[in-house]
Symmetry: C2
Subunit: 720 residues, 2 copies
């Protein structure tokens, strides 16, 4: 039984069993949670974490400075004009407790004719009735009001409040972009440090700006965007940005026709510049608070969630916050890597599932709790084997978990296994077969975030792509997140073996109009033609503007038929045998894509014919294809939701397109995987399933050994 | 047994049984066919039809005037530049016997950099090797050659020749846009009339320009477009057009990046103007030939197919051809209406299926032949009940049909039924419940052709829309084909009750960028808001450019999620009961559409959840919805392939959106339909199925009677 790298949640009145469990789990740190308080003698259990809020929690301050509340631009419903005068009740559909119209900034409001897209100037606001009256409206045109509002109730508290039927005070917000609050938050930080001498780690939950979270008039979620910058619409920032850059941010730049710059959108240059400005402000401001923590002998830890907007852990200014650590919830392999690779901090911590809450820890549910624990661990473990978190932990009420002895003992095993893995890897780089670059509109700044919505929330339009990252999070490959600007400015890095472009047409996932740029096209073609690999998933490189919808149809050997070339006969509709699909009998394409056809030279690996198939041309839906392009190769598939089979298919495709041999540091059974650690000369053959598995293990030289692995086992094998 | 309105195919050596069959079928005209000759005493069987070709058939003339061969612009394959010099073998992929590069018109050729879309000027043609050599090519750019070619083998003959392994001479083409051929075709017409005194009807097969039909190097179909104007690229026409309009038609205007102005494309103004110019030329030229026929005491009949391009039966210049009749193949209800409504001719004839060819009329296949006959008749009959053809007929070898006595007698029954229907309708307008306008990019010019490919060929991207027209062809509604220009210039006709917009995004079917025009939007909104009906199918009104993809999402109550508003919660995901779907248990959406969601006010009539459904928002695919909009109503469905059920669903939706009562001149059983002829005060309740059917028949006042109909029966009921 080992010790350390483990944070346990504690409660004021649950100290008798705590010591035993803490020892069993090897805990060396404790934390408080929502609704719990730390015990008096907390120091004896190890390092103490304490939550800290920067822009909420002090309603007295909020009440004193309503003019310094956080701001947002909101877009009203669309309203059809029936006569020359149109009145718009712009607050309709919004939660009145969350937002208050900011008439003090009326000059920033915009009225838009959505039928023409034009701005309207002939209008006035009726402050008594919260109505905008438009004159000379055009009948049968739709109009909206984009209005600035003060955020009068912190959205995360709204959620907790309404979900749990709280009756406590509603938390106001305040914004240090305003002068009084700027002073206040520094004063408050120092004071708090002095009042909490036991605290070793200030757990920031989080910084200045909440991700976009808008509730409707019924208090139900109306709009949620974990990457959203809507709530950074502070007039001081907007004016400061204009002064510095000459660029005026308008209401429309924020409401974006109602998309609020969703992460699915290819970000405009203007919006990205404003993001950078916000990031600089957040980093500078938080840097000053963190310095105060340090001066008081405390570490500063960021919780990656809630008010994380403007921190951008993979951005240029993140380092300026001087943080010691990050912590985040572990949903799967992608969140592990998203956390564990964040630069400029000393350690990374993951909070595992299940949360110790009554919804899981009720009488008779012990089996399910253990199953969820195993599922979470097995998914996360794949990524941990590649790039471990430095610490793990749980959250919630320990008293609840303590009632399930098999749960407690399974956590102990997992904690031990975690430490074993951590020690074995020893911060050394594991063996990588090749390097893959994920090409999308965000690049490095959104590393491991490029194809997900919120922190691994299931979205119908995302899971078929998120599966790529989930697969890769546990594959023995180097990963780089590449933006189109990277390629434009610096070309494709020389150590990249395979480029992946994946997503629906026009989204930031696939890149949209970036694919009209001949520089992008020629550089990617050159890369593949010279021997590189290309993997396209969904609608890669797609954009209207040419006969071909996939702009690199020549590279991939497939295109999407959007109707205009239907009159051209397509004869390449026969499935062929191929090493990539050998032995596979069924495929899961997730949301899939329709109307994909193969160009003459490509090899079709899977195609589906409808019952209505009648003619031998112009029909059939290609699902998977490979293509040769110069010395390089391409693999296309319509979608790749995460599964063991799809993860293996992707790995095979990576090796095949990169021209690398597959059976090196490799375990043949798809329920198993192999990691190799050259520094310690150890292999870890991992059983990702809760059943026993037989597999052929190949070492780095391709030498085969047959293995039988226990359920969930990691078999450590010393290299000779 | 009645007589007349029937054309029978005859053969030189099959006269013994002919008289009996001709009498049985009530034939009053005879025709020749491919591979048959008329008997000597042909006149005694009735009117004599004789096929006539204008631009092929005289190889002697073709050889004498190779410079007057028909022309086409062809687009080469895309070629990747690997160095500064790129050689393109532009004929690669084309059938060498069909096309000869026209170096005499080298100045009209274009070389295009398809990666940038720019024209390239630094190139030369190597006439010996049929190669274009590009200098200063950019590595990794793709280049094409758009070259003019002479059409050296008539494409329809290629098809027959290769299919039937003919060994006869390959037919050359010639074009009366050139001066010598212009004289020649008039001379030839007069001469032919003199040489064929028995001929009463000159059956033109057809006029000057073949629809686009390109073969590949293996003699297989490469590109086919029944509406295609590619083969009208005659230099004399191009220059004449420029002289008249100042508009220069370039190679690119014809090859259109490889789409060759497919009927799926929204036609450009430039292309439409050129079409009009071609039509004027064709009408004038053919008008002169028809006048010669008339002077020689013969009628002129157009076969709608083959070289029909430039005739546009629903266009402005069709009347200038002075034709007496049209004939075409009957594939279903749509082709019947397409033929029967052509203006400016005295009579319309349909050639029914099956064709008397050995592929159907072989030993032991009598049952199938009769079944095909019935299927074709039942489908066509729906449309004939609305607007009859004036004549019917068959084609092929009568000697083959004669071997199947049950086939011969069933044709006799059908011929009698056809004449009964014709007499009952007596060219009077049947009762129509309402008037529907099909709004698309072509409008009246492509009446009954707006959503089909070739003459009712099955296409994966078309059948889900073609089903609308097939349904309507037999429904008791008035039909108008409306273009966006019509709405822009004249607004929506006051007698229209319902507008249908149906198709994939950006196609001519749905209208693409026309939906960015505020005039279109406001006029359609005004129409619906004031009480009109709107039916959207597939991706109606869709175009990028706004937060909403369906530009009339407000009218329809549905939109397509293309990714950018995913972060907005969608709560309208519950199916509701509705009179339109009452009693229906399964639906056929054909190719269907994904990611359709309902706006708050709409009623969802059908929605499908995937197995992966986890959250109660942002998922689910709406398939059918209705919406109220002012005094008007809308119905949306993802696709509507033809079936009895879908036809009835559409009819119900038409009545419901138009606010008309359903049970008037109505037959409740979906396998049956009711037509009412006010002039003769007759109802025809039609059994469209080969089984007995019970149904509730409602007269125009809504009075109900129960009926039992024999298989395929038409029950004529006199109104009191």
């Amino acid at each position: 039984m080992s010790k350390g790298r483990f944070t346990i949640p504690v409660e004021e009145n649950f100290t008798k069993e705590l010591q035993g469990i803490a020892k069993l789990w090897g805990a060396d740190a404790v934390r408080d949670c929502d609704g719990t308080r730390l015990p008096k003698d907390v120091k004896k259990y190890g390092k103490v974490y304490n939550t800290y809020f920067v822009v909420r929690g002090d309603n007295e301050w909020g009440r004193k400075h309503p003019e310094e509340a956080q701001r947002i631009f909101l877009l009203s419903e669309r309203n059809l004009a029936l006569s020359e005068t149109l009145e718009i009740s712009f607050m309709k559909g919004f939660l009145a407790d969350e937002f208050a119209p900011d008439y003090g900034n009326l000059a920033r409001w915009e009225v838009t004719d959505r039928t023409t897209g034009e701005l309207v100037t002939d209008w006035e606001a009726d402050r008594e009735r919260d109505v905008v009256r438009i004159r000379n409206a055009v009948r049968m045109h739709e109009y909206t009001v984009s209005f600035m509002a003060r955020i009068t109730w912190h959205p995360v508290q709204i959620y907790n409040y309404l979900t749990n039927n709280w009756t406590c005070e509603k938390q106001l917000t305040y914004d240090p972009a305003f002068p009084n609050t700027a002073e206040y938050i520094k004063r408050h930080m120092q004071q708090w440090c002095e009042e909490n001498p036991d605290t070793d780690v200030v757990r920031f939950t989080t910084f200045l700006y909440q991700f976009t979270l808008i509730f409707n008039e019924l208090g139900k979620e109306k709009f949620v965007e974990w990457f959203g910058y809507a709530q950074t619409a502070n007039p001081v920032l907007i004016d400061g940005f204009e002064k510095e850059t000459g660029i005026k941010m308008r209401a429309e730049d924020f409401v974006d026709g109602g998309c609020y710059n969703s992460a699915f959108r290819c970000p405009s240059e203007k919006f990205r510049k404003y993001m950078d400005y916000v990031c600089r402000f957040v980093s500078k401001t938080i840097g000053e608070l963190v310095d105060i923590c340090h001066k008081n002998g405390k570490e500063a830890m960021m919780f990656l969630g809630d008010d994380w907007i403007g921190s951008e852990p993979y951005g240029d200014t993140f380092k300026d916050m001087h943080l010691d650590a990050v912590v985040g919830s572990v949903g799967g392999g992608v969140t592990v890597r998203m956390l564990s690779e964040i630069p400029h901090v000393k350690y990374h911590e993951g909070r595992f599932l299940p949360y110790f809450f009554p919804d899981t820890f009720f009488d008779g549910n012990e089996g399910s709790a253990v199953a969820e624990l195993n599922r979470n661990w097995l998914t996360a473990r794949r990524a941990i084997m590649r790039k471990p978190l430095d610490r793990m932990g749980f959250g919630g009420y320990l008293s609840l978990a303590a009632k399930f002895p098999s749960f407690v003992s399974r956590v102990a095993e997992i904690a031990d296994e975690f430490r074993t893995i951590y020690d074995a890897i020893d911060n050394k780089k594991p063996y990588c077969t090749l390097k893959v670059a994920l090409l999308n509109a965000w690049g490095k700044k959104r590393s491991w975030m490029s194809h997900m919505i919120a922190h691994e929330l299931w979205y119908q339009s995302a899971y078929s792509y998120q599966g790529i990252l989930e697969s890769i999070s546990g594959l023995p490959v180097d990963v780089e997140f590449l933006s189109f600007d990277d390629i434009r400015e610096k070309g494709i890095p020389s150590d990249v073996d395979v480029i992946i472009n994946a997503g629906d047409a026009y989204t930031s996932f696939s890149g949209g109009e970036n694919w009209l740029d001949e520089k992008i096209l020629t550089r990617v073609r050159e890369f593949v033609y010279g021997g590189g690999g290309f993997i396209g998933i969904g609608e890669p490189t797609a954009v209207r503007g040419d006969r071909r919808y996939f702009r690199l149809a020549d590279v991939m050997g497939v295109d999407e038929e959007i109707g205009f070339t239907l009159s051209e006969d397509k004869y390449n509709i026969r499935k062929v045998e191929h090493e990539l699909t050998a032995g596979m009998t069924s495929f899961d394409y997730g949301e899939d894509k329709k109307n994909i056809y193969a160009l003459p030279g490509a090899k079709v690996l899977d195609i589906v014919f409808s019952d209505r198939f009648k003619r031998d041309v112009n029909v059939g839906e290609v699902k998977m294809a490979v293509n040769d392009y110069g010395k390089g190769r391409s693999f296309y598939i319509t979608g790749l939701p995460y599964s063991s089979e799809n993860s293996r298919l992707l790995y095979k495709a990576l090796c095949w397109t990169a021209g690398k041999p597959l059976e090196r540091a490799y375990s043949s059974n798809v329920r198993t995987e192999c990691n190799y650690y050259p520094a310690s000369k150890k292999y870890a053959v991992v059983n990702n399933s809760p059943e026993e598995q037989k597999t052929d293990f190949y070492d780095v030289n391709g030498k085969k050994t047959e293995l039988t692995l226990r359920p969930m086992e990691i078999r450590w094998i010393e290299s000779k």
